[in-house]
């Protein structure tokens, strides 16, 4: 039986059309910084990709800084925004990805007042909570656009307006949102936004930080001065071309992909609702069209995941970056979910290639286990 991949928030398979675009640039000789023809052709390919990525979020290409991925983009954003703001409060939502939390802790060690911003029971960051965190002074605030585990979508437009009204700079991690939600950088009103190619069928190892026009980005990586001095290092030529093509495809096909994934998600949720002891996290708030996180009472998440893997069904408990840790998800804990229930969490993240059969296969596997558990329960176990 074919394996059934339902872990698209961890990574997605590369679109064959993206590979086709990348392939000639692998075997091309030419450093984009070189002045000769081979170098200039490489440069032109990178600038075309920059336009494609810029178009995905509605900005001018000069606002796009290519990085080695979402983690670097988030690290760069926090450092650049803090360097710009100078001093003050660094308000970080409780549900941020480790690539935001970790550099925030590093900045705290350098004197920033780190202020966690809680979320509510639905995983949403409330305006009042952000406002309180930024009292009495501004600084920098960061709230992710869509959460990688629960899929909860934040009202970033309102949050950014709140923060900026208080004189703070605002970063949003849009790694999970890109390709799934329509994104307009200007309408969001943020200072910076990070992207990662491999979350929407582009290659791993490439991402971008998008900044407001003219925003000075103090580089993390020193060296040859590539990316207008904002990020040194020979550009990942084929990767950037692939990122550009993936962004172009995502922009053209996003609505149709999202509709398809949402229909599958609804089918899955309808099936899950019939299972005894089911909890779907953040069920009643806006979520990514492809993400469902749930727990079955009485099940250890890790054990369930392993059993599903044996049947060829790939899902996860939450963030791939933190997997294997055995701790309950900090995101669910922040939502006030009981740690025992949180330890049983399963995240399903769909892709545009998934079909109804994949969803049904997962449901059957879960139903069989739930029925088994009931029998054990009847025996008094």
């Amino acid at each position: 039986m074919d394996a059934c991949y339902l872990d698209c928030n961890a990574t997605t398979p590369l679109d064959p059309r993206v590979l086709e675009a990348m392939r000639p640039w692998l075997t091309h000789a030419g450093n984009p910084s070189s002045l000769h023809g081979a170098g200039r052709r490489a440069r032109a390919a990178i600038e075309q990709a920059r336009e494609q990525v810029a178009a995905l979020v509605g900005v001018d290409p000069v606002q796009v800084v290519f990085t080695s991925g979402g983690t670097e983009a988030n690290n760069l954003a926090l450092h650049a925004l803090c360097a710009r703001a100078g001093t003050g409060t660094l308000a970080v939502s409780a549900i941020e990805h480790p690539s935001v939390q970790a550099p925030a802790r590093q900045l705290a060690a350098r004197g920033w007042r780190l202020q966690p911003v809680p979320c509510d029971a639905h995983g949403q960051v409330r305006l009042e909570a952000l406002a309180e965190a930024l009292e009495p002074e501004g600084g920098v605030a960061t709230v992710m656009l869509a959460n990688n585990e629960t899929g909860v979508v934040q009202d970033v437009t309102a949050l950014a307006a709140e923060a900026r009204g208080r004189g703070a700079l605002f970063h949003t991690d849009a790694v999970q949102a890109a390709g799934k939600l329509a994104l307009d950088f200007t309408a969001l009103g943020v200072t910076s936004l990070s992207l990662s190619a491999h979350k929407f069928h582009g290659p791993k190892g490439v991402g971008a930080l998008v900044v407001e026009r003219g925003f000075p980005v103090a580089p993390l990586l020193a060296g040859g001065g590539q990316e207008r001095g904002r990020r040194s290092g020979t550009e990942n030529l084929a990767g950037i071309v692939g990122f550009g093509r993936a962004a172009e495809l995502a922009r053209a096909e996003r609505a149709q992909r999202a509709d398809h994934m949402l229909a599958l998600r609804q089918r899955l949720e309808a099936g899950l609702a019939r299972l005894p002891g089911i909890s779907i996290f953040a069920e009643d708030v806006p979520r990514l069209p492809n993400t469902v996180q749930f727990a079955l009472a009485g099940y250890q998440g890790e054990a369930l995941l392993m059993e599903l893997d044996r049947e060829g069904i790939a899902v996860s408990s939450g963030s791939a970056c933190a997997s294997g840790a055995g701790r309950p998800s900090p995101v669910l804990v922040a939502m006030g979910v009981d740690p025992d229930l949180a330890r049983g969490a399963v995240r399903v993240s769909l892709g545009p290639d998934n079909r109804a059969e994949d969803v049904d296969r997962l449901l059957h596997a879960l139903e069989a286990r739930a029925a088994g558990a009931r029998r054990l329960g009847a025996l008094g176990w």
Partner: protein, 406 residues
């Protein structure tokens, strides 16, 4: 034998990905290949990717005789240099705040040192000798009680000279100084045995050796153990030293490129050296042509030549069928004379008239002969247009000429 133009002779700027590498990379991307996230612990897709990453780690370690656990993946040599230098400086800052490096290092090292100076570290930038090599006594004398780190590149990107990292490393060991070596230009071109070399940290790049751009590695010695403060924070990948999703296909590509380099080095080095010597024989026999950097202690594929009485940029324009560089690609957009050649004591004129030819895996003898003919012809033409050349031919001592300002 005919040659196809343009001819690529800029292998130190970057190399094309070897077709064998590209083919292998393509199998780690799409749905029908191994596309999982190597950090995914809950399914076979993740494990398969992790296995591929482990294999590549072994391949990279094998080329330089290191333990695979000593290899940390990065986005390239620039990041490796940044991580090594800032990582060590930040970790050992309580021990001291002095760093020693060389004026001819790559910008990724020099610019990183400048960043550290702004943070309160003190950096000594040593001058190389006129042949590009570092005087060992001067290096030893530069090490102080508060020196925590020295960074010296193995092979220079512009002039190709090979530093004596074994002796430099020993001097560092004696003084308890951490020794970092940027080996972006030497891995796969010069034998490296990290089990024997007294080197604590070593930076690698894939794209200089027929692997993909955007991937590199840092060797972090385990015994004696070298500690670093991570520079990229997040999910705690690479034992917490470098967070960020591992780019499986890129890593696989680097592993394959290093494997091929290891297999073919023994035959490739003499072949490329013979081509380089043929090029130098053809160019060096012209009047007023100077080799930059020592010829003997030099990587096989590099020839850096100054053509007196010719302006380097005009020569590059005249040689438009040949992709060469007039300095490091990372600074080639500027018209400043190469800082590396300046550090050797070359005059601005000679530095300006320099061309770097770098030869690699796909260079042929016919290409070398074509380039020799073309350069001789173009240099001759440009010199015909040069009044300085005319004066030189007439025996005027140009250094004594008083130029009028206007």
């Amino acid at each position: 034998m005919t040659v196809e133009t343009p001819i690529y002779m800029d292998y130190s700027a970057t190399t094309p990905v070897d077709e064998r590498v590209a083919e292998r990379m393509a199998r780690f991307l799409t749905r029908d290949g191994v596309f999982g996230n190597p950090a995914s612990r809950s399914h076979a897709f993740g494990w398969a990717a992790e296995q591929a990453v482990d294999q590549a780690r072994q391949q990279v370690a094998a080329l330089v005789n290191a333990d695979p656990r000593e290899i940390v993946w990065t986005s390239g040599a620039t990041e490796s240099d940044n991580l090594a230098i800032k990582g060590a400086a930040h970790f050992y800052r309580k021990k001291g705040r002095h760093i020693v490096t060389v004026k001819t290092e790559h910008k990724a090292v020099l610019d990183t040192c400048r960043q550290l100076e702004r943070e309160g570290f003190e950096v000594t930038y040593l001058d190389p000798e006129p042949d590009g090599l570092l005087d060992l006594d001067r290096f030893a004398a530069a090490l102080r009680d508060d020196t925590i780190l020295a960074s010296v590149m193995h092979v220079n990107n512009e002039i190709g000279v090979i530093q004596d990292i074994e002796t430099l490393g020993r001097l560092c060991r004696e003084r308890g100084v951490i020794f970092h070596v940027d080996a972006a230009q030497s891995a796969g071109k010069v034998p490296i045995d990290l089990a024997a070399l007294p080197v604590d940290l070593m930076s690698f790049s894939a794209h200089k050796i027929y692997g993909p751009k955007g991937i590199g590695a840092l060797y972090v010695q385990r015994r004696p153990r070298v500690r670093l403060e991570a520079q990229m924070h997040g999910g705690g990948h690479e034992r917490g030293l470098r967070s960020g999703t591992l780019a499986t296909h890129q890593i696989v590509g680097m592993g394959e490129a290093f494997r091929i380099a290891g297999e073919e080095m023994a035959t490739e080095i003499p072949r490329i050296r013979a081509l380089r010597d043929r090029l130098w024989a053809g160019l060096g026999s012209m009047e007023e042509v100077y080799l930059n950097g020592d010829l003997e202690r030099r990587v096989a594929g590099n020839l850096n030549v100054s053509f007196n009485f010719v302006e380097g940029e005009s020569l590059i324009m005249a040689l438009k069928d040949v992709a060469v560089s007039s300095g490091s690609a990372c600074t080639s957009a500027s018209l400043e004379p190469s800082y590396v050649l300046r550090a050797l004591g070359r005059s601005d004129e000679l530095a300006h008239s320099s061309i770097r030819f770098t030869i690699g895996r796909y260079t042929t003898e016919a290409e070398i002969d074509y380039v020799v003919d073309l350069v001789r012809q173009k240099v001759g033409k440009l010199r015909e247009l040069s009044p300085l050349w005319e004066m030189y031919q007439e025996g005027v001592d140009l250094d004594s000429v008083q130029w009028a300002a206007h």
